[in-house]
Amino acid sequence: MSDKLAPPKKKNPQLRQRVPTLPPQMRSRAALGLTAAAARGVFSLQHCEECGAVKYPPRDACCSCLSVSLDWRETDRTGVVISETRIHVSPDPYYRERLPWRSGLVRLSAGPTVLCHLHGDVGRGDTVRMDLKLDKAGQGVMIALPEKRSPDMEDDEQLRSLTAHPKHRRVLITDIRAPETRALIDGLLAAGASQIFVGESESWRRGSDHAAIAALDRVSVLPLDVSDPSSVKKLAAEIGGKTDILINTARHVRPGGVLGADTVFAREELEINALGLMRLAQAFGPGMASRTADGVNSAVAFVNILSVHALSADPQYGAFSASQAAALSISQTLRAEFRTSGLRMINVFTGPTDDEWHQPLPPPKVPPKALAKSVVEGLCEGLEDVFCGDVAKDLEERWRRDPKVLERELAGGGA
C-alpha cells in the first residue's frame, strides 16, 4: 500500500525555494518515440515489420533480422519484475534530491527486458502493468505499476513525479462561464484538490453561476479577463504564487467560415483564444515555472482546452479553427519555454462541445461533464496531448495518417 500523501505543511518563508532540476534529458531520435507515446498515454514499442519481433531499447534496425522497417505499435503492458534495487547514491542533481529511488528490471510478456522506475507497491516476482509516462524532463520513461489499482496508488512519490495529479494542489480555472467549469470543479475536488480559484470576467454582466460556485467549499471566484493585460497581471500578483495547476477554459466561439465571416468576431476569437493564452502564460508562467520543485503542492501543469480542429480546420467554424490553430502553435512554443522548469503544458483537444454554439450540429457532441473528466484524467495521468470524445480521437488518428486527406474530407470532398 502506498502511504497516503499528507497535505503539505505551510512553507517556511525564510528558506530559499528549491530550484527545479531535471532528470537526464537527452534522447536519440528513435527513443523520442517513447516520449510521443507517453504524451498520449499509450504504451507503444517498436515492432519489426518484417519479422514481427518487439524491440527495446528503441533503435534504428531490428536486432533479429536487420530490417530498418520498425513501426511503433501499441503493445501488451504486462510483465514480471525480475530484479529490483534501491539507489542510495547518485551524482545526478535531480535524483540525489529524491533518494532513495527504486528501479528494476521487468521482463515484458512482449519479449524485451525493460529497466524502469518501480512503483512502491511492486517488487521482484510481481506481475506488473507497465506504463509510459513523461518525466520532469518531458521525456517518456517506463514505470512498473501494480497489476490492479491499489488504494492511494497515485500518492506514491515516484509515480506522482510523473503525473500532474491535482491531489493537495491548488487550481485556477480561468472562466466561470465555460460550460465545463462546474463539472471541472467537482472533478478536481473529488481528486483531492485543496483549493480552486475560478476566474470571472465582466461580472457586471451577471449570467454566470457566480453565487452557487462561490458558495462551494474550498472554491473562490476572482475577477479575471484574459483579454485585459492588467486584469491578468493583477490576479497573477495575487494568487500566482499559489497556482499549482492552471486550466484555461476561456473560449470565444462563433460559427461561420471565412468568406462570409466577420473579422470583428474573428478578432475576438483570436483575442481570447490565442492572445488570452499568451497573457495567462506570461503572467502566471514564470511563477509556476519557478515552483515546480516546491514540495507536495508544487506547480505542475498548464492546461489548454482546444478544439481538435486546431489540427485541421472545420470550414463551418473557419475563424474559430484559426484561433485554435494559433493557440496550439503558441502552446508548442510555451512547451519549449517551460522545458527547463519541468512545467507540463497539456492540451486537451475536444470535438464539438454540446453547447449553444454547436446546438444545431448532429451528435456525437461532447457534454461538459465528459470534457471535465478528460481534463482531470489528463492531469492524473500526466499526459500532454489528450483527445476527448470519439470525434476528437477519430480526427487525430486520420490527421496522423494523412493530414491532406483529412483536409479534403473536412472540406466535404470525402464520400
Partner: protein, 260 residues
C-alpha cells in the same frame, strides 16, 4: 464693452463658474451595452502597455488603446441609427462643431429611479418640470438625472433573464422633446433608451426618433446631481473620427454659482 470670454475666464478663476466633469473614467472594467450574442458586440475599453520607461522604450511610457465608438461615456451621432442614416452631416466628423457647446437642462428622476429600475420619463414629468422651470429652450441638451451613475458592478447594467432593467424615456416623451427642438438627450445609463426599450413602438424610441431627427445622444454620464435644472453649459465634442457614429469623449459642464 461686453467681454463675455474675459468674464468667463475671471469667473472660472474665482470659482463663480465651476467646471464639473460628467465623465466616467475609461477603464477596462467599465460595463458596455450587451447585445444578443449572435450580433457584433460593443468592445470594452482595453489598454495594452507599449513601454514603461524600460527596454521597450527607455524614457517613455505609452499604451495602445482600443474600444468601440460607444464605449464608456460617449456621444451618439445621427448615423448611429438606421433612422438617421440619411441625415445630412450625420457623422461625428461632419457635425458643425458649434453645437458641441450649448445650454443644458436637467430633469431629476432620481427619486423615481430609486424605487423603480424601469422608471420612465413621460410627457407628464416633462410638463411638471416646465411648469417649475419654464419651457425647455430650443437647442438645449436635455439630461435625465437618475443617479444611476452611482451604481457599481452588475447593478449598473442590471441584467436579468429578460434583459437589462434601467430607466429611460417613453416614445411620447421623446416626441415632446423633439417638439421643443432640443439639441440632444443624455442619460446616466448605458443607453439613451430604457433597458427594456426594445418593447416600445418604435423599439428603442430615443435612438430611433432622436437620430431620425438629426439629434444627438449622450450616455454613461455622471455627476448630474451637481448640475442645476437650468443655467449650466455643456461642452461635449466627440472625436473627429472619419465617418464615425459616435465616440467616447470628455463631457464637461460649466456651472454658475458654485452649486456643488
Amino acid at each position: 464693452m461686453s467681454n463675455p470670454l474675459g468674464d468667463l475666464a475671471a469667473a472660472l478663476g474665482d470659482g463663480s463658474v465651476e467646471v464639473v466633469d460628467l465623465t466616467h473614467t475609461l477603464d477596462p472594467d467599465f460595463p458596455v451595452i450587451v447585445l444578443p450574442p449572435e450580433f457584433g458586440q460593443c468592445a470594452r475599453f482595453r489598454m495594452e502597455e507599449v513601454s514603461a520607461y524600460d527596454g521597450r522604450g527607455p524614457a517613455w511610457k505609452w499604451h495602445n488603446i482600443s474600444m468601440n465608438e460607444h464605449t464608456g461615456t460617449h456621444f451618439d451621432a445621427p448615423i448611429h441609427w438606421v433612422s438617421g442614416r440619411d441625415v445630412a452631416n450625420g457623422a461625428v466628423d461632419e457635425i458643425d462643431p458649434s453645437v458641441f457647446v450649448g445650454p443644458v437642462v436637467v430633469i431629476d428622476c432620481s427619486a423615481g429611479a430609486a424605487s423603480n429600475d424601469d422608471f420612465e420619463l413621460t410627457p407628464e414629468i416633462i410638463d411638471a418640470w416646465e411648469a417649475e422651470h419654464g419651457q425647455i429652450p430650443a437647442g438645449a441638451w436635455v439630461l435625465m438625472r437618475t443617479d444611476w451613475s452611482k451604481r457599481r458592478g452588475a447593478d449598473y447594467l442590471n441584467m436579468a433573464d429578460d434583459g437589462p432593467h434601467s430607466p429611460g424615456p417613453t416614445p411620447a416623451a421623446i416626441e415632446l422633446l423633439l417638439a421643443r427642438d432640443i439639441r440632444g438627450f443624455g442619460t446616466e445609463t448605458v443607453g439613451t433608451d430604457a433597458g427594456q426599450g426594445a418593447h416600445y413602438m418604435p423599439p428603442y424610441p430615443a435612438h430611433y426618433l432622436l437620430h431620425g431627427a438629426g439629434k444627438f445622444g449622450l450616455q454613461c454620464l455622471s455627476n448630474l446631481d451637481r448640475l442645476p435644472p437650468t443655467g449650466a453649459m455643456l461642452i461635449a465634442p466627440p472625436l473627429k473620427i472619419k465617418g464615425g457614429t459616435g465616440s467616447p469623449l470628455r463631457v464637461l459642464a460649466l456651472v454658475p454659482g458654485g452649486r456643488s
